[in-house]
Amino acid sequence: MNHFFKLLNFEINRFIKIYASLLAIVIIIQTIGVAVVSNSFVNRANEMMMENRWTQEEFIKSNGKMSFSEFMNSFWFAGPIAIAATALIFYIFLIWYREWYGKNTFIYRLLMLPASRYSIYFAKALAIFLMVLGLVGVQILVLPLENELFKVIVPNALREVLAVKDLIYTNAITMVLIPSTFTQFLLHYSAGLMAVFTLFTAILMERSYRFKGIIFGVLYCAAVLALFSAPLFIAAMLDMGNMLYPMEFLMVEIVLGFIASVCSILIGHQLLTKKVSV
């Protein structure tokens, strides 16, 4: 356990510079985005009112008010999140491959540590997971601040009043990242963790069996996907659409997800202990 925390800390520290830059990208681009989107609306409103000699009322009648969701639906909001997400997904691979490739083969040291190989495996998985959560945390933190900035730029009369919570519930990205209930949050991120474990196993298959391992890895990912979506497919194939009640369906999915995760972890550990080659 002790070794696990040390390794987790080590993994975080190794990525911290890039991670901090990712967070900075999110904060900076989004802040600029709020300013740009809000200002362009205010400018457009002023121009149109000048040109058409409109009152504010008339402008609102033809154009409507601006809401913060306009920013949240723009590239300014989604772009940096996509960049950070891509980087973290990429890091799922890099966190393993960097140990083998490059000038220094750190995997030697890692595998020779007097620590359980589970610690190595989980430290990597949890490092990624923690960084994803940290990113979500930062987004939760800056969203209300960005909303305040929006309120400063757009005059009261020209904006819709919506709480951050209400905005989050209707945005396609935040609905996934920060679902409205904690239960759902747990489900989303458990599924995410399952995906990380699955990819880890696929990566370790490649590391163990090289070219053949790529095929195993792809097949393994397909198998997990098939297992996870089996309730849907089986229901569709046997034409018994709603044979399971929603709660039962959810339970089945949770059990399957749990099985898939445990399999991934056990196979991953087995590969890391017995099969992986330096």
Partner: protein, 229 residues
């Protein structure tokens, strides 16, 4: 004692090791000799559990490799293994963090012995210094066995001398050492035991002093005989 019994490993269809068996005692320096690509490094990796093998048994003091055994044995590869962004100082902190049997005094002594500085960055080390850092990392852990992969290859003459000095010093104490080399000249008098490997098989296993007193042959004499045959 490290016991390797009938170690066989395939790489694809090619046999890398075939029925390799030998022992290496604590307190002795055992040398795996053979030209490049005969499976010396692979054997060390197999002992360390760093590469899977098809069959055979490897026991370290009668135990298979495990997380506990990693407190007893260490491996010094011939390339840098710490993250390049680290300084030597950070690497030492890392090691101290993870190894309960890390001997920091000895680490600092070695640092001085090798003329290394804590501020040096791993990425910027010369080949010789990299080998020294590796050696330092391995020797500063209080382990019973040390495996060294080609500690002398590609290193300048002065570094070579410094490293050779380590073998005769108290830094080795009475640990068991296995080193691999393809060049025996410099270390002929440093080693206790020779394992001659060729094509993934052990051709001959002997003690150097016994060979000299009984047959009056140097290691190179034996190598000539064996490889010519």
């Amino acid at each position: 004692m490290i016991e390797v019994k009938n170690l066989t490993k395939k790489f694809g269809r090619r046999r890398v090791l075939e029925n390799v068996s030998f022992t290496a005692e604590k307190g002795q320096i055992t040398c795996l000799i053979g030209i490049n690509g005969v499976g010396k490094t692979t054997t060390l990796k197999a002992i360390m559990g760093l590469t899977p093998y098809k069959s055979g048994t490897i026991l370290i003091d009668n135990e298979p490799i495990s997380k506990q055994v990693y407190e007893k044995i260490t491996f010094i590869p011939d390339a840098a293994i710490m993250p390049p962004s680290m300084t030597i100082g950070e690497a030492l902190v890392f090691m101290q963090d993870f190894y309960s049997n890390w001997n920091n005094e000895r680490a600092l002594e070695l640092l001085k012995f090798f003329n290394l500085k804590e501020e040096f960055r791993i990425a910027e080390l010369s080949k010789g210094n990299t080998a020294k850092v590796n050696l330092l990392m391995g020797l500063a852990i209080d382990v019973d066995y040390i495996l060294m992969d080609e500690p002398f290859s590609g290193i300048d003459i002065f570094s070579r001398e410094q490293i050779a000095n380590v073998f005769t010093s108290h830094l080795i104490e009475d640990r068991g050492v296995i080193i691999t080399t393809h060049e025996i000249n410099d270390i002929e008098h440093l080693i206790d035991k020779v394992i001659l490997l060729d094509n993934g098989s052990v051709l001959k296993e002997f003690y150097t002093e016994e060979m000299r007193s009984q047959e009056g042959k140097s290691v190179i004499d034996v190598m000539r005989e064996v490889y010519r045959a």
